[in-house]
């Protein structure tokens, strides 16, 4: 890891408001990520590979794939978000940037929110953009693909937000990766159920508005509560180190 290649968080004057601090953190995280492009590609490759495993491992039948496709894509997306979560705070924790963030005069939950949004833009959003291609590969029909993308678009930010809590809690622990999955998967299950439920309803020609509204409610709930929990967890983990 080349520490010098990673831009520092620029020191702010005290007067800088929460919003511009968020913007600065967000922009910095994107810049750091684009200097290590391989890290960006890995979750995407993982996503495609997991999806590939199902036709090979279970059945390549069109009828099976059409029925299970949405679920397969959702599970694969969930796993690849989970895989990338460990990076969310790890590098900043290792090189001390995180302590500087905690010391900023701006509220920590705003900065955590900015970091989580950056994480979503870097991992969740590419998954959403890739989903139509994979949707065709698992023989989803026209309308289902778009509904699937829509559910992923609303659902993956929830995954990032809930995941940020787990990443903050397991920071600095030795077996963090496995523990992180252990803590977070139970919390992901409702999102998965409603995400795939929406596509199933769309495939049957039923109305999907209610399902999407519930996913949106999850997003709102996670958006308002998760950054607080994650920043509390971060402070605890840092005081431990």
């Amino acid at each position: 890891m080349n520490a010098e290649a990673r831009p520092a968080v620029r020191p702010h004057r005290n007067l800088v408001g929460g919003l511009s601090a968020m913007k600065a953190v967000f922009a910095r995280d994107l810049r750091v990520a684009f200097r290590q492009r391989q890290d960006l590609l890995n979750p995407l490759l993982f996503f495609v590979m997991v999806v590939t495993l199902f036709p090979l491992g279970v059945s390549p039948e069109v009828s099976f794939l059409r029925e299970a496709g949405a679920g397969i894509l959702w599970v694969a997306a969930l796993l690849s978000v989970l895989l990338s979560l460990d990076h969310l705070f790890r590098h900043d924790f290792d090189d001390g940037t995180l302590e500087q963030l905690v010391l900023q005069p701006q509220p920590l939950f705003l900065l955590v929110l900015a970091k989580t949004l950056a994480h979503w833009v870097l991992t969740g959003l590419p998954l959403v953009l890739l989903a139509p291609v994979l949707g065709v590969m698992v023989h989803l029909e026209g309308n289902s693909i778009w509904v699937l993308c829509l559910t992923l678009l609303v659902g993956t930010p929830v995954l990032s937000l809930i995941g940020s809590i787990g990443a903050a809690l397991t920071l600095g622990l030795r077996s963090a990766g496995v523990l992180l999955s252990l803590l977070i998967i139970p919390l992901y299950i409702p999102v998965l159920i409603f995400g795939t439920g929406t596509v199933a309803a769309a495939a049957e020609g039923a109305a999907v508005g209610g399902y999407l509204a519930l996913l949106g409610a999850f997003l709102m709930l996670a958006l308002t509560l998760a950054p607080f929990a994650a920043s509390a967890a971060l402070k605890i983990s840092l005081s431990n180190a």
């Binding site: 077996s175 252990l182 803590l183 299950i189 983990s237």
Partner: protein, 247 residues
């Protein structure tokens, strides 16, 4: 009032109280459980629909009931840990999490045994069953996180955050049978309505629920005492206590 509150935070004071309370809790638990189970399993009338197989309700419902309320108690203790930094609250969470895990497992297991004759299957991906399974995972996560962090204080607070995050699952379990129209039957007891079963059925059920609560209380005291002894092993009163026990 405040003095009482402060005393409650003192492990030594709790230790004394627990010692005095435990025989009563155990006696009450044994009497109520014995009465409830013997009545329920041997003397309560057969169900008109399910025959004798319904009798597992006298174990299934109390354990499922308690599995959820133990989590809620843990969440309350988690708030106390985060806000007032009270040591005893964390001792409670750490002591009862495995008990909650066991109760959840018991509820799932007895449910499976009950499901086989009535639904014709051991397991089904029904909303109530799935959300109870999630509860099992949550207990597992709480225990795993607590054991992974070596520093006692930050372990306590990290676990408290996780417990609070997981509490969103409780209303999902509670209302799963009403929100989703699935196989599982609705709640047996409601505070606001008269039970739909005859008294010979619900009275023993109520007795076993209360008995299990007392048994849980006893178990919680026992496990908390052990935890306190381990944590306070360097203090004077623990040394005196051990010495007195040996003499």
């Amino acid at each position: 009032m405040w003095q009482f509150f402060h005393k409650l935070g003192s492990p030594k004071w709790f230790f004394g109280i627990a010692n005095r309370l435990m025989p009563w809790l155990l006696a009450g638990a044994l009497i109520l459980l014995l009465a409830g189970l013997v009545w329920g399993l041997l003397f309560a009338p057969k169900d008109y629909l399910q025959g004798n197989s319904y009798r597992i309700i006298f174990i299934h419902v109390p354990s499922a009931f308690l599995a959820q309320s133990v989590y809620i108690m843990m969440a309350v203790a988690a708030v106390v840990t985060l806000v007032w930094r009270m040591k005893l609250a964390d001792v409670f969470v750490k002591a009862v999490a495995p008990v909650g895990l066991l109760l959840t497992f018991l509820a799932l297991f007895t449910g499976a045994v009950w499901g086989k004759p009535t639904w014709g299957t051991w397991w089904i991906w029904d909303a109530r069953l799935t959300s109870m399974l999630i509860l099992l995972f949550l207990y597992g996560g709480v225990i795993a996180l607590g054991r992974a962090i070596s520093d006692e204080k930050s372990a306590a607070r990290s676990v408290a955050v996780l417990v609070l995050v997981g509490v969103v699952n409780i209303p999902i379990i509670k209302y799963s049978v009403e929100w989703w129209n699935t196989l599982h039957q609705p709640a047996t007891f409601k505070l606001t309505e008269k039970p739909s079963m005859p008294a010979e059925m619900w009275v023993p059920l109520l007795l076993s629920v209360l008995g299990l609560y007392l048994l849980f209380g006893w178990l919680a005291c026992l496990r908390m005492k052990t935890e306190i002894l381990a944590r306070e092993q360097r203090t004077r009163w623990v040394k005196d206590y051990i010495q007195a026990g040996r003499a």
